[in-house]
Symmetry: C2
Subunit: 250 residues, 2 copies
Amino acid sequence: MQRYFIDSNQIDESSITITGEDVHHIVRVMRMNEDDQLLCSCSETRQTALCKIAEITNDMVVTDIVEWIKAETEIPVRVTIANGLPKGDKLELVIQKGTELGAESFIPFNAARSIVKWDEKKGKKKVERWNKIAKEAAEQSHRSMVPVVEEPATLAQLLEKSRDYTYKIVAYEESAKEGESSAFANTLKNMKPGESILCVFGPEGGLAEKEIDKLVEHGFVPCALGPRILRTETAPLYVLAAISYHFELM
Amino acid sequence: MQRYFIDSNQIDESSITITGEDVHHIVRVMRMNEDDQLLCSCSETRQTALCKIAEITNDMVVTDIVEWIKAETEIPVRVTIANGLPKGDKLELVIQKGTELGAESFIPFNAARSIVKWDEKKGKKKVERWNKIAKEAAEQSHRSMVPVVEEPATLAQLLEKSRDYTYKIVAYEESAKEGESSAFANTLKNMKPGESILCVFGPEGGLAEKEIDKLVEHGFVPCALGPRILRTETAPLYVLAAISYHFELM
């Protein structure tokens, strides 16, 4: 069933009113009519309602709430993915697949070896596009919230943000080469439902040694993700899949 | 360090001779000279040697073996990914990322809901391209073998091949909806090093019910991969990351 994300102020006691671009999608793309059913998810409350269309006007679709749905589709821990800005459209892949795999938010950052130079002007459009990709992937994968993609941060800003997280890890190739293999699993074993984890990944050339030093100073644990070398866009997907496996399947 | 894949017949007692396209890569792209070092991996024996260039001619690079390397970069169980033929270049993504994540082989198959019609003539070139992607990803991710991508099979052929595997699973969306969440982890808990697992995934529209029935008849276990709906190209990466996490990090 088609799912639309709404803000909490669109919810009344027994009805939800859909506005904006989704109206076009419901009426023109899906060609729905009165009495057709759809799902409305609220990112703030992480609740989803089964709704029935009551009225369609030019700029809104008014629905009656049939019932609130119990199904839990969110990972029980909160995962933020911070990627050193990579080349090309690799970050789009991380955002699309990372949303399917359950990430709560994404923070791109300007790493020392990021080749892409961030352009404030063009950048705004790019951040909008990233958030649109997250929204579409959230709808398709039946998430009950839309992950937020933040504007690119500096390393200093990322370190400042890291204070808000219970656990902090950084994927580090050198750890893999030295045969380290338990830090990531040990971190997950310690985590309890509701806690948060910030996971940092370098761009194509990896993180510089001084970046690793700064991260470790701020409490980040360097982790290997197996003995193979993963690309910058593959490592976050590995971490998210492993977290889902650990907390949702094991 | 640059890695090249060789056949066992290129290995002599104390030297390895590199021929073919890799000669161009070593001499023209990497601009290596005598005494420079490189790695040679043999897919058959899964061994890797550190080598030093002894002689460069027009069509071969002769190297001296410095030492055989002990590092184990292969998952201790053997994983084959069988994907219902998807649209566009999604299978390329599965092969590239799946190789990084440790798959041993790939079997595309014509699923009932595969939209792509397989063209025998054009197909040969496609299979060559897929195998080239696997080779390049294996080099970059430090694999000690190159996964094989087979020609697309029919479901009947896939069922026939499945006899060679110790464990067989099929990712099934309906299992997720019914709240099933332990079949995949239970399978991994039972697996021992050296054993093999065949993992089957549907194309975009999923597997048809009669395909699931046939697979289950042949001993495949239907598994959910968490409560979110994963795209056809994301599910194999989830399975591989979870297997690596289970056997290499936990």
